[in-house]
């Protein structure tokens, strides 16, 4: 599990802040509705940003805008100062779990190798290096022994690890995860958090979740999204921001250690 090849030691704040993501006044219209409106966001290198917000609040759209999958209707999306299409090789993406076809005949190994694909790779076979990296990625997420299992016969947690491995096999500098803790039992949630906590020493992570309690101690910055983004570059969110985002009264409870963001049940 603990696969570490840290190039720079980044225990605390990195010496030179490098801007990885910058969204300037980004609006996205999607299927005739406004999914994002006037979003401003900067993510620095080695940030671990958690984005929370209600379902349909535009969280997935925000990630897709960062990936260049949906165009910004207004405003500008930049990764390392360039349009997202230019940085395909530097980004790892773990899409929302529920959207994949469980019935598709494919093994975990083939899914992970898929992460090595790129435009120049077309018409070439997978290399020994590709396979070596896939072995490493499977080891990192701790499912080496399941590599030949069809994806449809795995548990939700195992599938999620496969998708994380597929993102890691690209050796990304920026990792984007869409609801990585959905359909996963609490033990696996903790495992995945520990994995992300380990990964954050060597990459920038942006994670999206509709579940406030899922954003736990590991995340060091939290933003709140419901069409508009509420973000102050810290782990604390003022209650009025959460209320504005969720449109209903929510209490933020700081239980000392660990710091948690909880929603009151109606």
């Amino acid at each position: 599990m603990a696969h570490t090849e840290t190039h720079t030691s980044t225990g605390t704040a990195p010496a030179a802040e490098v801007e990885v993501v910058r969204l300037t006044d980004v609006s996205v219209d999607y299927d005739g509705a406004t999914a994002l409106e006037g979003v401003n966001l900067t993510v620095q290198r080695n940030d671990f940003l958690g984005i929370i917000g209600p379902n349909g609040g535009g969280k997935s759209t925000l990630l897709k805008a960062m990936l260049g999958l949906v165009p910004a209707t207004r405003g500008e999306v930049r990764l390392w100062g360039e349009p997202p299409q230019r940085s395909a090789g530097r980004v790892g993406y773990v899409p929302q779990h529920s959207f994949f076809d469980r019935d598709f005949p494919i093994t975990a190994w083939d899914v992970v190798l898929m992460g090595r694909l790129s435009r120049p790779h077309v018409l070439h076979r997978y290399t020994a290096d590709d396979r070596q990296r896939a072995v490493q990625a499977l080891d990192t997420v701790g499912i080496t022994e399941l590599k030949n299992r069809p994806i449809g016969e795995m548990s939700g947690g195992q599938q999620q690890r496969v998708f994380i491995a597929r993102a890691l096999v690209r050796d990304p500098e920026l990792l984007l995860l869409d609801e990585p803790l959905a359909n996963v039992d609490t033990t696996t949630q903790d495992d995945i958090y520990r994995l992300l906590a380990d990964l954050r020493t060597r990459m920038t992570i942006v994670m999206v979740s509709h579940n406030l309690s899922a954003i736990s101690t590991y995340v060091d910055k939290v933003a709140c999204l419901n069409r508009r983004l509420y973000y102050h570059g810290s782990r604390e969110i003022p209650p009025e921001d959460v209320e504005a985002a969720y449109g209903c009264p929510i209490e933020l409870l700081a239980h000392g250690m660990p710091h948690r963001v909880l929603r009151r049940h109606d």
Binding site: Y93, P105, T107, M114, V122, L123, G152
Partner: protein, 271 residues
Amino acid sequence: MFTVLGYEFMQHALAAAVLAGIACGVVGTYVVVRRMVFVSGGISHATFGGVGLALWLGFNPILGAVAFALAAAMGMGVVTRRTRLSEDASIGVLWVTGMALGVVFAGLAAGYTPDLFSYLFGNILTVLTSELQLMLVLDAVIIATVLAFYKEFQAVSFDEEFSRVAGVPAGALQLVLLALIALTIVTVIRVVGIVLVIALITIPPSIARQYTTTLSGMMRLSVALGVALSVCGIALSYVLDIPSGATIVLLGGLVLALVLLAKRLRPTRSA
């Protein structure tokens, strides 16, 4: 009955069955896992326009079918991507427009057009050598393309969004796949006919899926099943003296039903 194998028409029929079975096994696997069965049905019926045009202008209907199948496939790809028309609706429009064109063209063709029926429901006993050569070329093109883009097709089929993020030209590959479906349909038209094409594209991979867990495994088994079903169907139709295309389809349906029943009675793979 084996003396019949000495006749050229029967040799041609069996060769056509084998070539169709190969194309269907390979491309049908993508069609089934990507749930493109009705896209294939739309393209298939659209080829009737090409058959009618060829009968009217007096060239080989298979060439008309190739042109219309490719045009329909590209049309599908572009229309669903560039307009607000849903895939479902565009399939329906394509389906009936092709059929209507075929009927109009065939009506313009002077006199009696007995061929029409054989293109709709297949008449494998009248396959020409030139048609077999065309089928062989189409099979070669299909297999070469699938070998060249295997891992990209797999990725785009499984997770198109991720493929795009990775930099795979997913849109272009989708059009290539549609073109492969079009070519496959052309190889099958002589065997089972326009109306029954989706049976050979759908049934062998659906049976194969029950026993395989990888795309390549599913393809190999589908090819074997497609060839076996076509050949057995022809033999059966000869013995019983019933139409060959329909016999192949009914045999395939029966085998699929038995396989599903057997799986239900003795489940080997947990869903």
